[in-house]
Amino acid sequence: MSKITINIDGKEVQTQEGEFLLNAARANDIFIPAICYLTRCSPTLACRICLVEADGKQVYACNAKAKDGMNITTTTENIEKERRAIMEVYDVNHPLQCGVCDQSGECELQNYTLLMGVDSQNYAIKDVDRSSHDWGHLHYDPGLCIVCERCVTACKDMIGDNSLKTIPRGADALNADYKAEMPKDAYAMWNKLNKSVIGLTNGTDVLDCTSCGECASVCPVGALVDTHFMYTSNAWELNQIPATCGHCSAGCQLSYDVKHGSIDNPEDKIYRVMNEWNYVSLCGAGRYGFDYQNADATKDEAAFDAAVAAFKKADTIAFTSTITNEEAYLLQAMKEKFGYKLVNSEAKAFQTFLNEYSKISGTKLYGSDLEKVHTTNFIVSVGSALKTDNPNARYALNNSLTVSKGAGLYFHPVKDPIIEGLGKSIMTVTHAPLQEEAALYLVLDLFGDKEKLPKDIVKYLASFHSEKTVTVTETIKEKVIEKVIEKKVNEETGEEEEVEVEKSKMVPKKVSKEVVVDNNKLLEILGADDKFMETLEKNLKKKETFALMVGPDLYKHPNARNLARLVALVEKYSKFELVMIPALTNTLGVSLICELDDERGDYTVAYNTDGDFVLSGLGDGDLDMPAINQQEGTLTSINKRVNPTNAAIGYNGYELNDIANALGFDAKNVIDYTVKLPTTVGFKAQAFDTLPNHYENDGTEVRGYVLENVAVTTDDDESVEKFSDDKLEDCIIYLANPVRQFTAFTQKTTNLDEKSGVYMSEEYLSSSDFNEGDRVKVKTASGELTANVVSDNKIAGSIVVLPTFDKNLNSEVLFDGYRFSAASIEKV
C-alpha cells in the first residue's frame, strides 16, 4: 500500500492505494451520504446512496477503491435524482410514529430524508404485515426497518456470531412501470428492499448469540432496540459521559448515557451505553452491564475510622485488578511509605510472565495490539478462551477472517463452537491441558526462522520430525481407449452400416501410492487431525502479516516462565507480532505500577477481595468504595493505551484517596496522581484533564496515550526448557466465565442474568448421566464445592467450566494456580 493523491470535489486528498473512496473522503472531512456502510466491515451495497462519479463513471464510494490521480465528484444532477428517489423509497410505508420511536431524532432516515429534501412521495406499494419481534434482549420492529443490513454486516464481519440474515418479506412485486420511470439505482435498491426483512439465522424466533447488542447500536433507525431501554427515555434528554469500559482488559471506548432516575428520583441513572460503533465494538457485558455502581454508599464515619485503624494495623494489602492506575499508584506509594505487602496473585503472575518475556525480547511490553490484529492475515491464539477472556480479541480475529481475508489457528483445550463458527479458515486444535508449550514449539517449528533460532532449539524441534511412509490414494484420470460400434451412413452407397470406431475417454481411477512424508510428532502430541498440515498450507497462501495472541492460561501455568520465553522467541524469530491478553480490567496497569508480593502477612486489608478488613466497590465490605463507573481515573488496556474514564454516577461515600489522605498523603482528588504514574515503565507525565477520549473521522483513536515500550536489558540467555509430557486427563475443570460475565461487578448488574453454576456442554450432558439443574459436588486436590449444573451451548467437548464471577461459588478454591485442574464430579 502506498500513498496516493486523489481529487474529491476539487480538493486534493492524500490516501492509501486501494482505500475505499468513502473512507478517504471521511478521513478528509468530505461528506458523502451513506447508510449501509460500516467502517472496518465489508461493503454491503444495500443503500446505494453513496453514489459518486469517479473519472466520469458512477461508482459506489463504499466499495470503489482509490487509484492514483482519480477525480471524484460527490454530486451530479443524476446522482441527486438517484439519492432523492432512494430516500423517497425508504419513506414508503415507513410509520409516521417518530414521536414514540426510541431513535428519537438520532435517525439517519430522518436526517437523509430532510437532507435530500423529500417533500413529496411518488412511489407506493401495498404494505405487508410487519409486526414486531421480541428477541429477548433485543426488540425488532420490521415496520421501522429499512433493511440496510448494517446489523447483519456487524454480526458477520465484526462479532462473528452470524445470528442475523435477511429473510423474505413476502411482499407483492413492484409495479412494472417503475422500472422505466424510476432512476436506475433507486429501482434496484427498492427491488431488493421489497424482498427482504431481517430475521434470525437459526430459523426460529429465539435469538441465541453472544448477546453483544452491537446490531442494535449500529441500527440507523429505531428498528432494533435494546429491550431494557425501550421507551424509557428520549435520546436528547440523556447526558453522555465519555468513559472506558471497566469489565475486561480491552478498555473499550463507551459513553454512559445518564439522566435523572425518575420524577421522584433526581439522582442520575445510566439508561444505556453507547459506543463509536464504527471504530469500536462492545461485548454484552460492556453494553448491558452498566449498573454496577455502589449505589447506597454513604459517608459512614465509624467505618472510615475503622478502615484507617485497619490500615495502621495491617501489614498486607490484597486487591484485584479492577482498579484504576491511580489507585494502583496509591497502593504502591503506601507500600513505599508504610512497607505493606501488596498481594494480587493474578497480576503477579502476569508481571512475572512479562518480566520473563522481557529478558529475551528486550522490551518491557509485547510488540503489537488488537488494532493491528484486525488487519492481520494470519492469527494464532494460544492459551486463552478468547470469547470470554477478551471479547474484543475474538472480534479482531473474526474481523481479520472475514474482512482481511485472514486465517486463524486456535489452540485451546476447551472446544468452542463460537470460535469454530467464525468461518472455514479458522483451524482449532483441542490439545490436552498443560500442553501449551507444545503448541508454542509447534508455532516455532512451523514459522520460526530456523537459521537465526538458537541451535539447540532447532535441534530440539528437529527431534520431533521423522519420515514416514504413508499410503495415499489419489484419484488420477486415465486415458482409456474404447472400441465402439457406431451406425454410420456410407456416403458412397447411401446405406447405413455399422463401423467400429476407436474413442478415447478420460476415466477417473483410484491409485494407491506410497509416499514418504514428514511426520511431525508435535502435531500428534497436540492432537491435531491428519489433515492439519494440508489445511494449514492452504490457509497460509497469500498471507503476509502474522499475529500471536497469548492468554491467561499461560500466566498461571506451572511452566509459565518457560512459556514466556517461548513466546518471546516466537516474536523474535518469526514474523509473528505478539499480543498478550491481560486477565482483568487493569492487570497490565497494576503489573507495571505495583511491586507485588506472593504471600500475605498476618493482617490483611482487602480491596474488592477477601481479607481481615474489606474495602468493597460491590458494597458488601466493611467500608464502601466506588465502582469503576463512579470513578475518575485511567485504565491500561490490552492495546497498551492509558484510557481515561469519567464518573457516570454520583458516589457519596469514601474512596481510597480519603484513606490515603488520613494516612498522611495529600491529594485533593485521586486523579492528581495521574501525572505521577511511573515514566520508567512507559507512562507519561500527563495530567488527567488533558487526556482526550474520542475517535477522529478517519478512525484514529485519540484516547489517553499509548504506553512507551521501554527497552529492557537482556541477558543473552535464550535457552528454553523442553516440555514435559504431563497432561491432565479424565475429568477436567476449567476456570472461565460464561459469555458476558467477568467479575462480581458484572454479576451485580440487572441486565446480565447468566446463571452461575457448573457449566457443562450439551454434548457432555448427553453423554454423561448429569442433567441440567442437578446439584453436584466438584472435588479437586485443592478443595471442593457444591453447585448446580448449568447447560452451556457456547462450549463443547467434555471439559467442565467453572466461573469466577460468582463470589458465592468461590471456584478459585478448586484450582492451584493453573486454570485447569483434574477433578471428580458426583451428584449430591
Binding site: 414514540v100 428519537s104 413529496s120 428520549n234 425518575s262 420524577i263 421522584d264
Partner: protein, 205 residues
C-alpha cells in the same frame, strides 16, 4: 445577522421626542411657590368626589371575586389540560417528550415505559406550576393536541413548588363521555382549512 439595528444608537431619529416639561425651580422662592401650588390644588377632592358619586348611584363595576368570575377567552393560557381522543376516549398523549424538551422554564418532567401491549406509556407526568411561565410552547409543540392550556387560573399555593400531575390535567372520563371536552383554540390548535393544505401519501391500496 445584520448588525445595523444594533449599531444605530441614535434613538431620537426613530420617532422619539422630548416631553415639554417645565424647568425645575432652582432658587428658594421658586421652590416655595411650587409647594404652595401643589398643596392647595384640591386634586385629592376630585378623586373623593368620584367615589362618593358612584356610591350614591350604586353603579358598581367591580367583579365580586371570588363569588363572581369573569368569563375566560378560549385562547387564555392558564393551567394545562390533557385531552382525550374523541374516537376512543383514550388519552391523546403518546409520551413523545417534546413538551419536556421545549419547556423554557424546565418545569415539565415525564417518565415513560413500555406497557403490556408493547406501546409507549406515560407512567408519570408533572408540571411544576411554580416555575411555569404559561408561555404556551408545550401546547404549540404537541403533535397530538394532547397538552393544551385551560381556563383554570387559580393556582395559588402555600409553597413555591407546586406540582400538577397527569391525572389532575386529564379530562375526566365522565366529562368525556358526556361529550363536554372543550377544544383549545390557542397555540398549537388546528388552523382553519388545515385539511386542504395537507398532502396525502400515495398508497397503492
Amino acid at each position: 445577522m445584520k448588525m445595523e439595528a444594533f449599531n444605530d444608537r441614535n434613538v431620537a431619529d426613530n420617532g422619539y421626542f422630548l416631553v415639554d416639561i417645565e424647568d425645575y425651580p432652582t432658587d428658594g422662592w421658586g421652590k416655595f411657590k411650587r409647594v404652595v401650588k401643589r398643596s392647595f390644588r384640591g386634586e385629592l377632592f376630585v378623586g373623593l368626589w368620584v367615589v362618593m358619586r358612584e356610591m350614591i348611584r350604586f353603579d358598581i363595576h367591580t367583579v365580586q371575586y371570588p363569588q363572581e368570575k369573569m368569563p375566560i377567552g378560549p385562547r387564555y393560557r392558564a393551567v394545562h389540560q390533557m385531552k382525550r381522543l374523541w374516537e376512543s376516549d383514550t388519552e391523546r398523549c403518546i409520551g413523545c417528550g417534546l413538551c419536556e424538551k421545549i419547556c423554557i422554564s424546565d418545569c415539565i418532567r415525564i417518565d415513560t415505559k413500555i406497557d403490556e401491549n408493547s406501546r409507549k406509556e406515560v407512567s408519570e407526568y408533572t408540571i411544576n406550576l411554580g416555575r411555569c411561565i404559561f408561555c404556551g410552547y408545550c401546547a404549540e409543540v404537541c403533535p397530538e393536541l394532547a397538552i393544551t392550556h385551560g381556563g383554570e387560573y387559580e393556582n395559588a399555593s402555600d409553597q413555591r413548588e407546586h406540582f400538577i400531575l397527569y391525572e389532575d390535567m386529564l379530562t375526566p372520563i365522565d366529562t368525556m363521555k358526556a361529550g363536554k371536552q372543550l377544544e383549545f383554540e390557542g397555540f398549537g390548535s388546528i388552523t382553519p382549512h388545515e385539511d386542504e393544505r395537507v398532502k396525502k401519501t400515495p398508497l397503492a391500496y
